[in-house]
Symmetry: C2
Subunit: 405 residues, 2 copies
């Protein structure tokens, strides 16, 4: 039997974190069963994916020649169209600052690869997107975890204090709008302060804006990148606003970083145009995005409201939840309830699933152990109501006595 | 201006190699100009990409639902169909041994990531696919370069001697059929001997079989993976046999390695099904591959023969070239001619391009400086004739006196 490097896949995560992830993965695998009503995974709505428009795009692209299927440099028309889309977000940039990659995940990986020298540090919140933790764990950075709050996001004063005390991370990771998993959007004051700190201490900010175009109460405030073109490295994705299966995301970065990113992508999986890049370019080029985004925002606002209404009706006394102004995630806290245990019985008895909050805790921490992320994008309002009714039932049955002894 | 880690993209390549690559890249960029007849890049024939079949596949997939555009686990039907395709190659495997990724490049990266511990070594030929060198350079391995010959491929006795002397690389990288760039296929004796060595010394072989299904004189011999399921990690790709823009490749590995590969791919760009995986599955599932492969083999054999005929007619005395039994590459040696210099004048005076052999030399070496790789897949026979006539002309004009003083 051929050997492999011991534990290569997870070699930098601590044992406890590794075990926790493995348990969460097992639970989420059970959540994928068709009879389960699941808030567990951050899916966009399948019925809102523009399948007819994308099939037509494929037909058009391939009617004339095979060129969109051939090797080629990254799709330049798409870069220009992304620069146009960024304008909708209040960001002024040129196509030469746009770098295309396989979804936001690869964007985060390439940036970490570029910025993180061995032994370097990353600053991020105590509760942070698990996919980002997976990305950086390969680089074994020192993690500088700063406090965060469910309704408000990152504690900017804590960031300032750490920097003032001498911390110099390779970068600070921030989600300005529709935080995954907290569902928070930052105040404009926090945004301005973060950008000031980045400049003052020469610490770049990696801004993950996967949901920034999904403002649910009108447009989201300006992202950090709109406030500073040099110190903010912006990560965008078509996964939530078009289709995850296309695997297309982008970066907006200072132009001088593009050749290095291209060399890294080349070593990763070739820095070439994918057929999917051409599909996205065709879709954007026909001007279909504004109407599509409007439809998404409307429907996701409806689903968010269904979550909030149902939480108020069905969750036990003491429960708290966020009201996300953007994106696809509601963070629910159930004081005293271990949500890993809850997920076990919720799956077993009520066929309902969520992602336990501890899955997002920074290494060595247990933040979120009594919380859960509800990803509401994939469930229509009537099923949301039913799912949260089940969740309330199983929580009350097993945990309410412990809460209020 | 935001900082980046010094020279991150190429940080492990030596200065000389870095400069050489940069020069080659500049030349190849000029080769992409439309008036240039180019053998420089390993393109499959654009007119043989099955664009109508793939457009129809997209229409079928998206007629019913958006599921093929949604997040999902790696496409299981495709794994089963790849296992079926491997049978055509003489390899018996199950879908649970198939791992899907973004082309062979990502497959090579994930394997290197899995197998190469810090300070580890890789054994490969003195002349080897440049994309593979790009992949491993990120891991800064010790490179154990073994001799290779244009018509024959890797020197197996040299491999045996190095292993007997105590070398224990993390893996040995081998191309059994249609070597890129040498165009060589290994004898069956060499194949058997390599597998024996892998077993005897517990050194896995990474077998890059991007062109193994493109046998040009009948089917290629059995790949190493057919001789050993445990010590040979097989890399396959749809880039040359279907379409590069789909970015779909695969590994055949012992099943116990799949979870670790999945964790690594997750950190890289998400281990999820891409829409392109569904497209390929639809194409294979309709049984279109055998006829498609037959068409490719016939046309590429015609193009190869056009190269060989034209070389005999137009290249100066002393020139030597390989006759590839598989794949898309002919290796031409022009004794005494520095092919980097030749490429400069060939582009300038005759608008013809190739990839200089030195681009494939192992770190610190200059092997191939008087050779070139002709990638003939992208040019129809009549343009091949014209391109090699130009090449012969410019070589004779500038270099023949130096050859025969």
């Amino acid at each position: 039997m051929a050997p492999s490097r011991e534990g290569a896949g997870v070699r930098t995560a601590g044992t406890e974190q590794r075990m926790r992830r493995s348990v969460v993965r097992g639970l989420l695998a059970r959540a994928a069963s068709p009879e389960v009503l699941s808030f567990a995974v951050g899916l966009p709505a399948t019925d809102l994916l523009p399948r007819r428009a994308l099939a037509a795009a494929g037909d058009r692209l391939l009617a004339e020649s095979g060129v969109p299927l051939q090797y080629g440099t990254p799709c330049r028309p798409l870069k220009a169209l992304v620069a146009g889309l960024m304008k909708e977000r209040g960001v002024v940039c040129g196509e030469e600052q746009v770098f295309l990659c396989n979804g936001a995940q690869q964007a985060l990986r390439l940036l970490s690869w570029l910025l993180l020298a061995p032994g370097g540090a990353v600053m991020h919140e105590e509760i942070v997107y698990d996919g980002f933790q997976t990305v950086i764990s390969d680089f074994s950075p020192e993690v500088l975890a700063v406090p965060t709050r469910a309704g408000e996001g990152i504690d900017v004063e804590a960031v300032a204090a750490r920097l003032a005390a001498g911390a110099r991370p390779a970068f600070l990771y921030v989600v300005s709008d529709g935080h995954n998993p907290l569902g928070a959007s930052l105040s404009v004051e926090k945004r301005a302060a973060l950008v000031e700190l980045a400049r003052a201490y020469a610490v770049p900010i990696v801004e993950d804006d996967a949901c920034g175009l999904l403002g649910l109460d009108g447009p989201a405030p300006l992202p950090l990148r709109a406030l500073d073109p040099d110190w903010v490295l912006y990560v965008g994705s078509f996964s939530k606003i078009l289709a995850p299966g296309l695997r297309v995301g982008w970066l907006v970065v200072p132009e001088h970083l593009v050749p290095a990113l291209s060399a890294l992508k080349h070593a990763d999986d070739f820095d070439a145009a994918s057929f999917a890049q051409h599909l996205v370019a065709d879709f954007l080029g026909r001007g279909e995005m504004p109407a599509h985004l409007a439809r998404l925002r409307e429907e996701y606002a409806r689903r968010r409201d269904a979550v909030l209404d149902a939480c108020a009706r069905h969750l036990p006394e003491g429960a708290r939840w966020t009201r996300p102004p953007a994106g696809l995630y509601v963070w629910v806290e159930l004081p005293g309830v271990d949500t890993m245990e809850l997920l076990e019985v919720a799956l077993e008895e009520e066929k309902v699933a969520f992602c336990p909050g501890v899955a997002f805790a920074a290494p060595g921490r247990r933040d979120g152990w009594n919380a859960m992320r509800l990803s509401f994008g994939g469930l229509p309002p009537e099923r949301i109501e039913e799912a949260i009714a089940r969740l309330g039932r199983v929580t009350k049955k097993h945990f309410s006595r412990q809460d209020h002894p």
